[in-house]
Amino acid sequence: MEMRKGLRRLTAVLSLITMAILMTGCSDKVIVLNPKGAIGKQQLDLMIISTALCLVVIVPVLILTFYIVWKYRHQPDRKAKYDPNWEHSTKLETIWWSIPIVIIVILAAITVKYTYLLEPSKPLEHEAKPLVIQVTSLDWKWLFQYPEQGIATVNYIQFPANVPIRFELTSDAPMNSFWIPQLGGQIYTMSGMAMKLNLIADEPGSYLGMGANFSGREFGKMQFTAEATSQEQFDAWVQGIKGSSPALTKEGYEQLAIPGVSEVESFSSIPAGLFQQIVTKYGGHNHGSGSGEGATEHHHGSDSGEADATDKAPAMDMNMDMGDGASMNHEGHMNHE
């Protein structure tokens, strides 16, 4: 009796929650499900495909669970069969080893395909030339440099919609993670390395940007706005900053890097090579020089696959040699020397 009441209560709660999900799912607030850029949209496709594949198994299992628990509950005049010694059936077990294997094989194939397709350092195919924004996570603020425009901002970025954006990311503080959910997934910002993330906004709008990885006391304040506008508005904005904002000097950067929170700021010029200096500052770092060179290279606008290879290498071969002994690392070192 108790059980039946409980089950009904649980079903009620579950259906309420499902309704809540469906209702909020339609609203704009669930930003990951409401992407505004090509990358975010493909990632959403992948989420939907993988969820659907999982539900193919999960839903029958849940139904089966409730059915079996209900049907085989102990009661005085039960009609269902009781077979205490039934413990094995090759046929059944083959079935349920195969079902998850099949699902996982399908999912794995899709995942591998998308992993290469959506590799964040891969340039987007687009007729427009990408805009470069150099991102530095500081204690507890974001510095954005526009090397081609020669301006910089703090905790705010603006860029034209329908133009690919090539983010180059590093950190001058504990690791953080750069995330604009409506444009696409995040990537870590790490000292001594220049990571790359290619995103695009399909339509103008104001998007939430987050520092996603915990980095200390005021980590919660590391949020920023990413504004996608028309090309004209973007150009006007750049001109506005050039005309009215102060310059960012080396000393100004040192000031900015002191731990603390910051308002939105803008600078009309940036010291030459600041981003590369931040990356190479941790120069003795494992493979640091490799990534430093990578960063310099694409600063000159190089999009070649080679540049990609050099600065993807650091994190990659490190992961590999964690997995397996000496030889790997040695090769890694050779590459860099």
């Binding site: 003795g284 494992n286 040699d321 964690m322 002994g325 000496a326 690392n329 070192h333």
Partner: protein, 199 residues
Amino acid sequence: MADNRNAHAHEGHHDLEALRMMGFWIFLITDCILFGTLFATYVVLNGNTAGGPTVSELFEMPGVIAETFILLTSSFTSGLAVLSMNKGNRKGLIGWLIVTALLGASFISLEITEFVKLVHEGAAISTSAQWSAFYTLVGTHGLHVSVGLVWMIAIMIQLGRHGINSVTRRKVNIISLYWHFLDVVWIFVFTIVYLMGVM
């Protein structure tokens, strides 16, 4: 103790001392992983000298080769100790253990001399990642050897008191196993740290 062990060893299927020997083997597996992790960190950080001295500049192979030779010999003498024990020769057993311990002690003193010299030449643990990893890996091995020394002395005293019985026999077997294990680890240290460092 050993004689009325039968009461515990029901149907003879778990002998207490054999049980302890097995536990020690499993402990050695965990120690393997410990050293494996340290070797991995060493290999990852190898070359990260941050502008400071490199290993090939400072390593002096004659001393290291002497250390290697001493430790290999001590592994051999610890084997001789076990052989004497199996013959029931307590004096021979204790004698070979003393030789082993003396060799171990000279290994440690050579290693300490090497460390002091390196520090004077400007390579301390805080100099760079390269040297942090070096001191930690080699030092962990040295710490293992030192613990082994104290333990070996304790066993010698117990052998003096109780003679060779099932308990002391197991203890000697275990310390000898431990000693061979440290020897094998040292061969890896010698190859990966020193040989590959100077080559």
